[in-house]
């Protein structure tokens, strides 16, 4: 028996070893792995964020990269090598213009209600469009809005971030500029508009800093 037999049993492996373990787990998974999932699989006492940081550094500039996707991490091929990958390409269904616009509105305005999406687009959102985006697992239902009728809101998913290679919704292209230009604010018209009053009430919430970013 050594001095600290109990402790040594549960001592976490050295960081370099933890890094190897995180590497193996990330490599094995096609989908992003959360910190919580990593901790669940690593031996007791491991520090997944520290190991991830080391690992990400190691893969900097390599053919594959360690990428953060929301609260999860994944290994992905480097974008500049896409030309090598043509064989792997899976043809995805082409999204309709309505679907693309709806997706963008959800991403930039989240959480956002259907009425708000319709307000921005000036046209009603078809059920099929929302269903397609839900099916792609790019948007999901968020919390209900605390306004009359308690409408559901939509937010983007981790899968959305993963698909577009975003670490968080804050990394959306041009988000800062749009916000600075006031285009993500609710500048609801006072009263006399084609919009119904209750939609205007909703708008106050509409463009507040998105909690979904933290959620994802």
């Amino acid at each position: 028996m050594t001095d600290t037999p109990e402790e040594s049993l549960f001592e976490a492996p050295p960081l370099a070893e933890q890094e190897r373990m995180v590497e193996a787990i990330l490599f094995a998974s096609a989908t992003p792995v959360t910190i919580a999932e990593l901790h669940a699989r690593l031996p007791h006492g491991c520090n997944a964020p520290a190991a991830l940081e080391e690992l990400a550094k190691r893969y900097d500039g390599r053919g594959v990269q360690v990428r953060r996707i929301g609260e999860a991490w994944a290994i992905r091929t480097a974008p500049d090598l896409a030309f090598l990958m043509t064989r792997e390409t899976v043809e995805t269904r082409k999204l309709s213009r309505a679907a693309v616009e709806t997706l963008a509105i959800v991403a930039y305005h989240q959480p956002v209600t259907r009425a708000e999406i319709e307000e921005v687009r000036g046209v009603s959102v078809s059920k099929g469009t929302v269903e397609q985006l839900l099916e792609l697992d790019w948007i999901k239902l968020g919390k209900r809005r605390d306004t009359p009728g308690r409408p559901v809101t939509f937010v983007v998913t981790r899968n959305f971030l993963d698909h577009f290679g975003l670490s968080s919704a804050r990394d959306l292209p041009g988000l800062k500029e749009l916000r600075a230009a006031g285009l993500l604010d609710s500048a609801g018209p006072p009263d006399l508009t084609p919009d119904t009053p209750e939609e205007d009430e909703d708008q106050d919430d509409m463009f507040t800093p998105s909690p979904a970013e933290e959620e994802n």
Binding site: S29, E101, G122, H163, P189, P190
Partner: protein, 261 residues
Amino acid sequence: MPEDFIEGPARDDVAEGLAAEALIVDVEGFEGPLDVLLTLARTQKVDLRTISVLQLARQYLRFVEKARELRLELAADYLVMAAWLAFLKSRLLLPPDPTDEGPSAEDLAAHLAFQLERLEAMRKAAARLMALDHLGRDVFARGEPQGLERSRKVVWTATLLDLMQGYSRLRTRDDFRPFVMDRKGVLTMEEALDRLRPLIGHLGDWTDLMTFLPEGWDVDPARRRSATASTFAATLELAKNGRLDLRQDETFGPIRIKGRP
């Protein structure tokens, strides 16, 4: 097209005319009135923030008129927008009414401009979003994921108590076996009847019942009791049917039977 809708120098240049034609032909391709307005606004070739909403209203109304001329079915929301723009146009042209409550015509026009700018911004954002590297097109996930094998290991347990209880259960099961008659020691009434029927026809005289017990049933007491009871019951049955007569001369005396001719 009503001439009174045209104020100031009409900008009906060739390009705009062509655009309007194209618009009408493609009306089905529009994503609602705001989309039409945005397309029309682009013909003004100015920043959306400095757009002339008045001019835009005229263009839109002209678009709707043209659509009607061509007998194109316009959805209700296009007509609602037309009505609203006609109202806005008149408000913009008339001097403001000081008694009028609510937003000014300029506020409404500014909001419309904002809506158009926002829609345009979201379109551009959508385009930038779609231009990002797509997973599965530009960036790739692990092609041969190993997944997480969930191996389920079942540990079977049994305790010594289980074992002993199981054994006890087996060894005591006989105690609780459902009761089954011991057929070997029982003569049924049907058997007794079958035995008696062919015999009684020949009975000319009173004969002791006990002589009708089957051979071998008179030694073992249990068998004898069973045979006696069933034979007696059988004679009662036959007496009821009028096939024989029964008599007993004294209490506990022998029971005798005689067949009826």
